[in-house]
Subunit: 211 residues, 2 copies
DNA sequence: GTTTTAATCAACAGTGTGTTGATAAATAAA
DNA sequence: TTTATTTATCAACACACTGTTGATTAAAAC
């Protein structure tokens, strides 16, 4: 959800912009972990104390900066008045992937070793490996998948991870079983389709039974 | 994929176990960010230099420790010989959610402010907010969803995030449009089902058209 | 019982931290 | 334009953590 703010003091805007730019520039040249507040303020040509007037940590600055970029992206997405029904419309997704491709170097750093997204990425990849192995073990071999199994596994793993985080943050409002059922339902009917091509959606579910 | 290792020197096993336990204990009592190597080795009653004989950073230790837990979980999952067809079977998912519930305090820290998973979590939540808004705007209001929209949004956001990471790591082997189409396909047929209840899967897709 | 490997200890120089109070400069409000 | 408010600067501070060193002791493997 795009953040809407009141106009701030011009110096504040300038300083925050400079800090954000400095961080993104540094990210391209050195390990994220190794970047210090001192580095950032040096790069931005600002006093180190100034940093603490605006942000409490590197991560806070990074989040604020990323969210600005995201907001721009969302505006682009909203500008697209797609007359297509939304389930035939991949414009939004395409814009996201294009955006990431545009800033690939930066995003790659974020999920790389020492990056802020590294641990989450590793966890998701771990889940994905398990899922991929499961699919390969249980899938009827004759079926040719429309989407590579590794991608399907990432899809499932990402979904699972996000649901887990949501569940934790919301203080576990459902039982594990309920969550498992909902996760399973949401994922399955997507991945099954991906495995078997679209037409089967018109057939009863039981056709999947014969392996 | 569970990691299988050769038997190590007993001292090595003991040290790594102690370090892992120390980190997990500390995580429950203080901000992850604020935990230093010194803290960890103090808690584990080991010399600080010993840490560096095994791990290069806090994150490395954390990942190794988490993966051990995951491996245990996967073993549990494999032990379940489920005769159910896997698309009616939520045992694996349930085990995951139960595992997280069991260690909720720790996992909550990991995705909280200052935690290693914080930024990824925030990014996913940002995407989820956009998705939720989109669904609410475009969904036929008469339809009563089988799964809360917020959960559906998390599902889609997590999937998108994971696919983005995979795509980056694999050096973008598909075009943005191809990725968007696959992401869209995998997600849509899951979330649509979630919105409309299962029986519609037997109907042609076009019934979704009339809003 | 011998050899190999691991943990300990103290010490090191270096770097980054977060905060301080006073000062100067830029901006907003009148 | 003038006045009042807010922001950035600077230097300095005490402190904690880092990552690595070489020599020593202890434990485990063979």
């Amino acid at each position: 959800m795009p953040t809407s703010k009141k106009p701030l003091d011009r110096r504040v805007r300038r300083t925050r912009r400079l800090l954000g730019e400095a961080l993104l520039e540094l990210i391209l040249t050195q390990d994220y972990d190794s970047i210090s507040i001192t580095d950032i303020t040096n790069q931005a040509d600002l006093n180190r104390a100034t940093f603490y007037l605006h942000f409490g940590s590197k991560e806070e600055l990074l989040m604020a900066t990323l969210e600005e970029r995201f907001d721009e992206l969302v505006q682009e997405m909203e500008a697209q008045n797609d007359d297509q029904p939304f389930w035939h419309d991949w414009t939004s997704d395409r814009l996201i992937f294009e955006h990431v491709a545009e800033h690939a170097t930066m995003y790659r750093v974020l999920i790389g070793e020492g990056g802020v997204g590294y641990v989450a990425h590793r966890i998701i990849s771990y889940i994905a490996e398990v899922v991929a192995a499961e699919i390969r073990a249980e899938k009827p071999t004759a079926v040719e998948e429309a989407i590579p199994i590794d991608l399907i596994a990432q899809h499932v793993a990402g979904s699972t991870y996000a649901l887990l985080c949501w569940w934790l943050q919301e203080d576990m409002p459902y039982t594990p079983l309920e969550m498992a059922q909902m996760a399973q339902k949401m994922c399955f009917h997507g991945t099954m389709w991906a495995l078997m091509e679209m037409q089967v959606i018109n057939e009863p579910l039981e056709i999947y039974l014969e392996k």
